[in-house]
């Protein structure tokens, strides 16, 4: 099988999975007992024909038709690039996402850079200094980093650095220009909140991958040839250790975007996809929830695919089956 057919096959697989996720999300939401009409009925005064009002609202939301019809209509409009109308915010879902994705993206991007740089350095350092005092301390902090709840860390950072010291604002200011130092400053605490767990995780991966390779024959050979330790570690061990690490980072990505970033946005009031989708869930804003779910699935599938390709690219010995 050529690389191209392999990728084509993976893509087909991805489309299938995305369809599955979409279908599951669609029916899950419709099965709930809530109706967008509830809140209107609650505020109705006297003199209303409730049945008529419910019918009008359901028709406005497009939920008056039989379920299967709604489902096929949704797929049909999706295929035409129409993501529907957001009733919670009164704008097309596509527009909504266009204005908000960047806030999530910058957070995840900066956190990833922070975590990858720091995580890899820390991992290499502790692998080289295995079982030293520094290694043990680093190990402890990695575990602490993995274990600390995001939301609590975020709140504590706000309490200490914003409330007590006043170094940062307690909220994220969207009026700052995206590419500015002020914006970077404003994102410090969110990035640290989201990045801590990632640093901790990555440093552990890197450390164990490095250690695994250090014991391998080719490293011993390199050492025996009298190559300086720096070259052995930097060139031979590191390069080989990076392979699984990159894969893991890729596979982690979607969990970060739709796990930690989600909560981080809520704490710091960043109007990204996470906060938006949470509001949408509470507002019974079906089409937004669907869109965010689909984007989430898409990101996951994309990174899985990238991880696969990276694997093949970095290690030609691997055969794709």
């Amino acid at each position: 099988m050529s690389l191209r057919t392999y990728i084509a096959k993976r893509l087909l697989h991805a489309v299938l999975i995305a369809w599955g996720v979409m279908t599951a999300a669609f029916f899950l939401m419709r099965l709930g007992p809530n109706s967008p009409a509830d809140k209107y009925i609650a505020s109705l005064g006297a003199g209303h024909n409730v049945t008529a009002v419910v019918a009008a609202i359901e028709s406005r939301y497009g939920i008056d038709k039989p379920l299967h019809e709604q489902y096929f209509n949704y797929i049909a409009s999706l295929l035409q690039g129409d993501w529907g109308w957001s009733f919670g915010t009164s704008m097309p879902v596509m527009e909504l996402i266009k204005t908000h994705w960047i806030y999530s993206f910058q957070l995840v991007l900066l956190s990833s850079i922070f975590a990858i740089v720091l995580g890899i350095s820390l991992g290499m350092f502790t692998a080289v200094k295995k079982n030293s005092r520094a290694d043990h301390i680093a190990a402890f902090f990695s575990f602490a980093g993995i274990s600390i709840p995001h939301f609590w860390l975020g709140i504590m950072l706000i309490l200490i650095f914003s409330v007590k010291f006043g170094w940062f604002k307690t909220y994220y200011d969207t009026s700052l220009p995206m590419l500015s130092l002020e914006n970077l400053h404003a994102l410090t605490l969110p990035v640290f909140t989201l990045g801590t767990g990632m640093v901790a995780g990555y440093s552990r991966y890197v450390r164990s991958a490095m250690l695994e390779n250090m014991g391998k024959d080719f490293v011993r050979t390199a050492r025996a040839k009298g190559l300086p330790e720096r070259t052995v570690i930097g060139k031979h061990v590191f390069r080989n250790a990076m392979l699984p690490v990159i894969t893991i980072i890729m596979l982690d990505m979607s969990g970060i975007v739709f796990g930690g970033a989600y909560i981080t946005e809520v704490i710091f009031g960043i109007p990204g996809l996470g906060w938006m989708s949470l509001k949408a869930v509470f507002a019974d804003d079906y089409s937004v929830v669907m869109a965010v779910t689909l984007i989430g699935a898409f990101v996951t599938l994309l990174f899985n695919l990238l991880a696969d390709i990276a694997y093949i690219y970095l290690d030609p010995r691997i055969r794709y089956e």
Partner: protein
């Protein structure tokens, strides 16, 4: 409009409604010296974002607040309920027989693009949009009257370019306040989207308020959902032709995820104004850079007694309800939960209303009538107790301990604290309260909406005397809004067939009085005054709900914001505020 939008508030926290109510303009206030500085006015909010700027579709106070910045409305009231004209040239003229209401518009109102705003636009908005079947306008009921047993819409008609008259067949003196809340769409734009609610919902011009012309002090600029809405100075504003109001370059409403972040932003000077939680007030009052106003609100916190068949049977007895109210200290709620920011409530009309009259009010839960022993004795008399060694022990008819199920919504600290305080107070007299916190949506669906068991009724908030909610309950904490000028709007809560009378209260005398407040007789204000006094008195005795408090709100402004007149409608002259 605001009061109508949110008659019912989720829990008993303060909604942002009052803060942004009636943001309209006053030309009569004299200003000493023109403002020197300009700048942005940033209001901090943490109550969530608006749903839509397409006002006919809105059902939340936040939406009406945003829209009000660009559409002044016909008129407003100042803190003393004096009429302040906005779009109107003179006050609404009511015919002597009380059947027709004539509105005369200013002749310099324009839509964007220069088309004049005419009476035709108003009549069109009513007839073709608000009253249309396809629209199912949520507040259409306000524009209906009962004629020959049928509910029909009132009839608006164009008199000339700037005058229109609304004709009724029955007299209702309080309909005036419905007319004052009337808003308008441009006929030439709205007619493009007429007939289909889905198209109307998604109409771009109606959603971005690009039609508002010179009708309000601000123009729509930008709206980032769940973050902020930016309105910019409207240079064409009809009210600013002489002095150039409004005096701020931009009016921004910034949304925060938590009240904590909002307070910190106010403290740091990042925002110009925000409402304060009670525990923060002292700190802000002591800050030289901030001014804090403590102002009354137009709502009351209360606890509803379930008199339907799925509530504790005792609650159907007036004596029992009075006893329970007597056992819960109103001052305690004000002190412990609201940290002093509130007035005790005994009935539904607050002191700030021109219709307030406390003669004959039964002031249960305060002073001598906050008496737990007396409460126990009353319950014993009602058959819910036994005397053991001189001590009264409260028991249910079957001899078991009395247990009540109290429902309130999650997410409101005030509601939760009040719930626990009620539990503590009733616990003192030997009644066990089981608190159940549920999300607002669930509360509406499972505890508010009711229907006759086994029938195929569409569940709603009041489906008649025999209807019951899906889940049983005894007590529900919530808040009600009251329209200070037309308290008869509260009919919805207390009339037998009132749309939000979820607790199954029925008193023919109350029904008759509410009818009377909206009848020909009541054209005489003295009659109405008597009607409201009697209503207040009956409700304070009947206790369909335990009226807890009328909360007061605290609103902080930067010290350099000038021109504010603190009071119940303090935003009435907001376009004249300036940085000094």
């Amino acid at each position: 409009m605001c009061g109508r939008a949110a008659l019912l508030s989720a829990g008993i926290g303060l909604s942002g409604c009052l803060e942004r109510e009636a943001k309209e303009q006053n030309q009569s206030t004299n200003l000493t010296g023109a403002p020197g500085k300009s700048g942005k006015f940033i209001e901090g909010s943490s109550g969530g974002d608006a749903e839509t700027l397409n006002w006919l579709l809105a059902s939340d106070a936040t939406s009406f607040g945003y829209i009000g910045l660009t559409l002044d409305g016909l008129m407003t009231y100042d803190n003393n309920f004096n009429t302040i004209l906005r779009w109107m040239k003179k006050d609404i003229e009511v015919s002597d027989d009380g059947l027709s209401y004539t509105v005369t518009l200013r002749d310099d109102l324009e839509w964007s693009g220069g088309k004049p705003v005419t009476s035709e636009d108003f009549v069109y908005t009513m007839k073709n949009l608000m009253f249309a079947d396809w629209m199912a306008y949520s507040y259409a009921g306000d524009w209906k009257e009962e004629v020959d047993g049928k509910s029909v819409f009132i009839e608006p008609g164009v008199d000339n370019e700037t005058t229109f008259t609304i004709h009724r067949k029955t007299v209702n003196p309080e309909f005036l306040y419905t007319v004052t809340d009337l808003n308008v769409y441009p006929k030439h734009i709205a007619s493009k989207y007429e007939g289909d609610v889905k198209t109307f919902t998604q109409a771009p011009e109606l959603n971005d308020l690009s039609y508002t012309g010179n009708l309000g002090p601000y123009r729509y600029k930008e709206w980032i959902r769940n973050d902020k809405i930016v309105m910019e100075h409207n240079p064409d504003y009809y009210g600013g032709k002489v002095k150039g109001e409004p005096y701020f370059d931009e009016y921004i409403i910034k949304i925060f995820g938590t009240s904590e972040a909002r307070h910190a932003a106010m403290e740091a000077g990042d925002i110009t104004s925000t409402g304060l939680e009670p525990e923060q007030v002292k700190k802000f009052k002591e800050m030289p850079s901030v001014q804090v106003f403590t102002v009354p609100t137009s709502q009351y916190q209360m606890m509803q007694y379930n008199m339907r068949d799925n509530g504790w049977a005792g609650l159907k007895d007036k004596k029992v309800r009075q006893a329970l109210t007597m056992a819960i200290g109103k001052e305690k709620i004000i002190q412990q939960v609201r940290l002093g920011f509130g007035e005790p409530a005994y009935s539904f009309i607050p002191k700030t209303s021109p219709w307030y009259d406390d003669t004959g009010l039964l002031k249960l839960g305060l002073g001598d009538l906050y008496n737990k022993n007396k409460a126990k004795e009353m319950l014993l008399d009602a058959g819910y107790g036994v005397r053991e060694n001189g001590e009264i022990k409260l028991v249910d008819k079957n001899g078991a301990k009395i247990k009540l199920k109290l429902i309130t919504n999650t997410g409101s600290k005030v509601a939760e604290s009040t719930a626990f305080l009620v539990k503590q107070e009733l616990g003192d007299i030997g009644i066990e309260v089981d608190i159940k916190l549920v999300p607002w949506e669930t509360e509406l669906r499972k505890y508010y909406m009711n229907k006759v068991p086994g029938s195929d009724q569409q569940p709603r908030n009041n489906n008649g005397a025999r209807a019951v909610s899906e889940e049983p309950w005894d007590l529900i904490l919530a808040g009600h809004f009251v329209d200070l000028l037309q308290p008869s709007g509260s009919e919805i809560f207390f009339a037998t067939d009132g749309g939000l009378n979820i607790y199954g209260y029925s008193n023919p005398r109350v029904d008759a009085l509410f009818k009377k407040a909206r009848s020909k007789e009541a054209l005489d204000k003295n009659v109405r005054k008597e009607v409201y006094a009697e209503l207040s008195k009956i409700l304070s005795e009947d206790q369909p709900i335990d009226f807890f408090t009328f909360p007061t709100a605290n609103i902080a402004f930067k010290a350099d914001v000038k021109g504010i007149e603190p009071g119940i409608n303090m935003n009435y002259n907001y376009m004249e505020w300036y940085f000094g």
